[in-house]
Symmetry: C2
Amino acid sequence: MGPGSIRIYEVSPRDGLQNEACVVPTASKAALIARLVDAGCNDVEVTSFVRSGWIPQLADAAQLVAMLPRREGVRYWGLVPNTVGIERLIQSGLSHAATFMSASETHNLKNLNRTIRESLAGLDEVITCAKAANLGVRSYISTVFGCPYEGPVAPDATLRIAERLLAAGADEIVLGDTVGLGDPRQVERIVEVLTGAGIGLSKLSVHFHDTRGTALANALTAWNCGITTFDGSVAGLGGCPYAPGASGNAATEDLVHLFGAMGVDTGVNLEKLCEAGGYAAEILGRELPGRVHLAWRGAQARASARKVS
Amino acid sequence: MGPGSIRIYEVSPRDGLQNEACVVPTASKAALIARLVDAGCNDVEVTSFVRSGWIPQLADAAQLVAMLPRREGVRYWGLVPNTVGIERLIQSGLSHAATFMSASETHNLKNLNRTIRESLAGLDEVITCAKAANLGVRSYISTVFGCPYEGPVAPDATLRIAERLLAAGADEIVLGDTVGLGDPRQVERIVEVLTGAGIGLSKLSVHFHDTRGTALANALTAWNCGITTFDGSVAGLGGCPYAPGASGNAATEDLVHLFGAMGVDTGVNLEKLCEAGGYAAEILGRELPGRVHLAWRGAQARASARKVS
């Protein structure tokens, strides 16, 4: 048995939307975030402060932040690639920043056009700058559970990066299963390697992908290891663009349902979260892959059919 | 850590197809089963011997059995509601039968038009008759993890039924999560109650549904408890008919991928299984919900796109 309460970190407005072809109006994004917050999501990654024009979907970062509902206990996060991003994030009024890099050299090179060594040097500066401004900082490490180019990734590679990022001042490390290759045994092993080296469980978060259906099995395993922060994307938003119905991010509703059913306090109201997921599907005008989301939509459809007949 | 090897029980030809609106030609069913067997599925539930006309999809039971490839070590199973079904199953040449009833009174009444007491009396006769003919027998108990009408179901209700069915001669009991309401804590509790009463782990199989994304988390938990037989349906065939993309049965590929990634011997070749799933989608002419299936289809589509360009 794992911890009695967990923390959900919602990634849909950033990680989910950045893969969408159609640019969602800023007001719709703000409305989605308001619904997520109403449902009890206290950590929401709202946007990214990458170079303007890099990701058109997220070019409205500053406008979006200005529209967010201010609520006691709610933390809004922005993704930052460098110190310029940190400056923009601070100017927008956000107080929490997320950094990113990969555990595997090839993925880091292809994705960020830098070696791991260069990324670490850059993030050292970014995190130092963020902490000097008193920001909360989480640092994603991608491909921890496998790299699409290199295959298996040694837990030690993740450990070395995690230690550097924590030494730079990061508050938490996010273990990312970027392509959904992780399995429960691997989750146990990586958590063991990291905690065995003295990294506290409270400093570790997990970001699983459901590409091969393993997200909840991995989340359950991480929870059994004592992990308390789980990344999710409402309705599974941010799926793989290659196949209709294919899945990327773990769906937040699926996580909240699983842990809720086990009596674990998630702080999130599942019904309201499902409504937020329904709204996400509506603004995108397409089917989203989350299992609980689809079950909920099915139940909604049957309820309206009964009303009509 | 659970057992080093597991057994996959494939339900798609019966449990999967029976929910399909279009009647699949017998030759296509036989071809699907041949592919499943080629992939290494040694237990396949091929059809149901219910009253002719009850389920048009399965009215070709005898013809289908005649077309099945005979292969050393492969067991074909037929679902039977009563002793007439047993007679028809034996006449067809099958040697393995599956019976069914529910753990909750209301589901049993609505589904079978009998009380649990009446079902038990009937199955006593069915199993006796099957064992007299030297058939292998597995007995499904539905709604073990929750009933759509009654909600939670006490583990003791399942225990009492399991004991009666085993006493009648059933070789194995299948714990069915009929509407996908089960969670890992419940899985542990039910296995504990059953084994605590002296039922051996080798006599218990699990049949999970992925309606709310919990199938693999529940399967992992059952495996950690020592369970070795897992029901799956290729590509997740047998989804809920209510919502497009919604899921019913645990997808066999997802189970085989999960356990395979953990180093557990499943006896199934995942690539060949994916091809069988692709064939299932082809004969049904619709999108199927299995996660690994969709990831595999995505990879196939990208591979052909590369060939064309």
